[in-house]
């Protein structure tokens, strides 16, 4: 018997993963949640049919969205994470002793429940004493905050579903307002390759550029995401992502990573010509 999970990466492109077993399926108030057991990627979490993480390649995403800002801003103590119900980002953040508080805002309690049950390694640090979980709409949560975080990580799903509101000008504006004067916001910004995704990436980049004085895009290779090619946004009130990189300081922490290095950090901000062009069009 052949069992395959397929996801459209573009209207005319499909990405398929062979499945051993369908472990979990649930329609929550917000989305459909599925967890599969697969031979190549281990366990896979899909929301509304879109792969969010696989055990095999989650380290790339989680390391790149976390260590890049952490290696730039030496004073990060209070962190807000949006989405991220799978716990992967929290797992990386919890490795830093200097972080005093991690507030996690996830709209869908069912995601956290499912990940605790079926992706226990990923969700392992959700019970860290510094972690506070809020089940709320992030727009609602953040607009009540003013200058109280050093770092905001936006680990949302795609801009075409329940997370649409997290790619808007009003969202970036309230994040700006919730950050201290030297704060940083990092967000997943989608794939720049297929047209539909590239346009969404341009729109969100444009909105961030209009909100933060410093805004740069960096990239990583993530096999199970569209085109295997992903971008992140680095938006900041004070620190430059490359000029202010404290490589020596970060390396002294002696954190073991599988993808991120401070050498790669610099390289990740060097973008291919077509992507530079896409970004220039909206800056």
């Amino acid at each position: 018997m052949e069992l395959w999970f397929s996801e459209f990466h573009a209207p005319d492109v499909k990405h398929s993963i062979r499945i051993n077993k369908h472990l979990y399926s649930h329609q929550s108030d917000f989305q459909r949640i599925d967890i599969f057991e697969t031979p190549e990627f281990g366990r896979v979490l899909a929301l509304d049919g879109n792969v969010q993480l696989t055990e095999r390649d989650e380290f790339i995403y989680d390391e790149m969205i976390t260590h890049v800002p952490m290696a730039v801003h030496p004073g990060i103590k209070d962190v807000l994470v949006i989405g991220a119900g799978d716990g992967g980002v929290v797992k990386e953040l919890a490795r830093y002793e200097r972080i005093e508080r991690i507030d996690l805002v996830e709209m869908d309690p069912e995601v956290i429940k499912a990940c605790r049950a079926y992706l226990p390694e990923n969700a392992s640090r959700l019970d860290d004493r510094r972690v506070h979980i809020y089940y709320d709409n992030a727009l609602r949560f953040i607009r009540r905050c003013s200058e109280q975080y050093d770092l905001i990580i936006v680990d949302s799903t795609d801009p075409f579903g329940p997370s649409e509101g997290y790619f808007t000008r009003e969202f970036y504006g309230i994040c700006y307002n919730a950050l201290r004067e030297d704060g940083i916001m990092v967000n997943q910004q989608g794939s720049p390759f297929y047209q539909h995704d590239a346009e969404a990436m341009q729109r969100s980049h444009q909105r961030i550029v209009h909100t933060f004085p410093i805004s740069r895009v960096y990239q990583a290779h993530i096999p199970t995401y569209a085109a295997g090619y992903w971008t992140f946004g680095f938006a900041s009130k004070k620190y430059h992502p490359v000029d202010d990189l404290d490589a020596a300081g970060w390396n002294k922490l002696n954190l073991q990573t599988k993808y991120y290095t401070t050498r790669l950090h610099v390289g990740a901000f060097c973008l291919p010509a077509f992507l530079e062009q896409l970004l220039r069009e909206v800056e």
């Binding site: 727009l139 609602r140 607009r143 509101g165 808007t168 000008r169 009003e170 969202f171 309230i174 307002n177």
Partner: protein, 486 residues
């Protein structure tokens, strides 16, 4: 016999059912429309969808005829009358404008007086241009803080009736665009006691008939006719509407009046949308509008928590000029953050990709309905918080009144058809205007034909133009000149 047995079966939707049967019959069309189920216009069919254009058909025996309904349209009207608690209901395909015009034309002849508030929709005064009736304006009270017109006070209506015993009808705007209701029951009673009809422009009140705990409806109050914009809160297609009548009206006469101006090619897209929406509201309206009211209450609370904005609600109710308030309305006063409503309206669209219903000098209105979800409300509230953070300024210099008491010199019809001349806007003070000037939306005239142009009115027009209100009405599209009586 239980309650259900004595009512019609609201699960039925006769026009919808007839169209489904029609589609299955695969009838060969040698009649209009010429696109022949869409085949003759592939580009339009691809855009609008095959299912949709297939039912864009002409009147025929199995589908009845809107000009003289005898079968499925008649049944749909009976079901609608039952659902709204009316003696009769008419399907309307010319917008609520046509419902409003029918109310006026069915009750007023040339020279008849009609008592009405000045903050009516342009369609009412257009009807006066058509029939030659004479408006007697009741000054709606203005809320000083919000700068908006309220409902009609009972004593004002009573005074107008006493001073004009020869008037034939009282027209009530209920609720207003902002959701403010008058004391409909008492006003209807006063009109009937004086032998006048009571007509209600209920364009924004469809949901009152179906939601729990809503303000009094025109039919409940015993009014004679009501124009109900099913396409606003009721969920039907744009341009579809209901005209409701009470037991004192002769439906045959009303039908004749409708047929004076209504198309003989009534759209089945519009009619079926009325039929399906009526069924949905009759069966599920209570839950639907409870949800909308809850969302509006939540949004009001959140907007008021931002500071600076005032999202108003039932606390305004004063038992007379604000007899009740529509709980689904999200009207927000913006002047305390130093921005005109129209400025907030523009920023929301231009910078945040959020389109709201309208903005005037001091307020904005976000229209909540059946189709809204909490996540979009969070965007709206957050965008308002951001606008306050980024744009808040000192509010002095904003105009502070919205209602300008008109001096009626000629009837709308006389003024509209009289010899006239065109003069530059700033030289028109003291002249009698022969055309409309209004901001759209909301489409409530600043000047109507036959009214004296004053300095206050000119200042208001100038201010509204500067703030970016979209002005309509006059022949001159830039509104640099006005037509006045020669």
């Amino acid at each position: 016999m239980n309650e259900f047995d004595c009512c019609l079966d609201q699960r039925r939707a006769p026009i919808y059912e007839a169209l489904q049967t029609f589609r299955q019959m695969r009838v060969v069309p040698f009649d209009v429309p010429g696109h022949k189920h869409g085949r003759g216009n592939p580009e339009m069919t691809a855009f609008l969808g095959e299912k949709c254009v297939q039912i864009d058909v002409n009147s025929m025996k199995p589908l009845d005829n809107l000009c003289h309904p005898v079968s499925v349209i008649k049944e749909a009207e009976e079901l609608a009358a039952d659902a709204f608690g009316a003696a009769h209901a008419f399907l309307m395909v010319g917008g609520t404008t046509s419902s409003v015009q029918t109310m006026v034309l069915a009750t007023c002849k040339r020279g008849d007086k009609i008592i009405l508030p000045r903050n009516v929709h342009r369609s009412v005064i257009n009807a006066l241009v058509l029939c030659g009736a004479v408006p007697v304006y009741v000054n709606p009270e203005v809320d000083d803080r919000l700068g908006i017109s309220l409902g009609m006070r009972r004593d004002q209506v009573f005074k107008a009736i006493r001073e004009n015993p020869d008037a034939v009808a009282v027209l009530v705007n209920n609720p207003t665009y902002y959701g403010i209701c008058s004391d409909l029951k008492s006003i209807t009673q006063m009109a009937h006691d004086a032998g006048m009809y009571c007509l209600v422009d209920e364009a924004h009140g469809t949901h009152f008939y179906f939601g729990a705990g809503m303000p009094t409806t025109a039919m409940e109050a015993g009014a004679d006719m009501a124009a109900v914009s099913m396409h606003k809160s009721g969920g039907s297609l744009t341009q579809s509407s209901f005209l409701l009548t009470g037991p004192r009206m002769n439906p045959g006469h009303v039908r004749q009046i409708i047929n004076l101006t209504q198309t003989t090619s009534g759209s089945y897209l519009l009619m079926s949308s009325l039929d399906i929406s009526r069924r949905m509201l009759a069966l599920h309206g209570r839950e639907i509008f409870a949800k909308v009211s809850t969302m509006a209450d939540y949004a009001r609370e959140e907007v008021n928590a931002i500071g600076g904005y005032y999202a108003f609600g039932k606390e305004l109710v004063n038992g007379d000029s604000i007899f009740d308030f529509d709980p689904t309305k999200l009207s927000i006063h913006t002047r305390d953050i130093g921005l005109a409503g129209i400025e907030v309206y523009d920023i929301l669209r231009d910078e945040y990709d959020i389109q709201i219903e309208f903005g005037d000098i001091g307020n904005i209105l976000a229209y909540l309905s059946i189709g809204d979800r909490p996540q979009e409300l969070e965007r709206l509230v957050s965008a308002l918080a951001e606008i306050r953070r980024r744009y808040q300024r000192d509010g002095s210099g904003l105009l502070d009144t919205e209602y300008l008491d008109p001096e009626v010199v000629a009837t709308p019809q006389e003024a509209f058809y009289a010899p006239k001349k065109s003069v530059p806007l700033n030289e028109s003070e003291g002249c009698v205007c022969s055309e409309f000037v209004m901001c759209y939306p909301p489409g409530i005239p600043i000047l109507a034909p036959g009214e004296r142009i004053t300095r206050d009115i000119l200042d208001y027009i100038q201010f509204a133009k500067e703030k970016g209100c979209s002005m309509t009405g006059p022949e001159d599209p830039d509104i640099l000149r006005l037509n006045v009586l020669a």
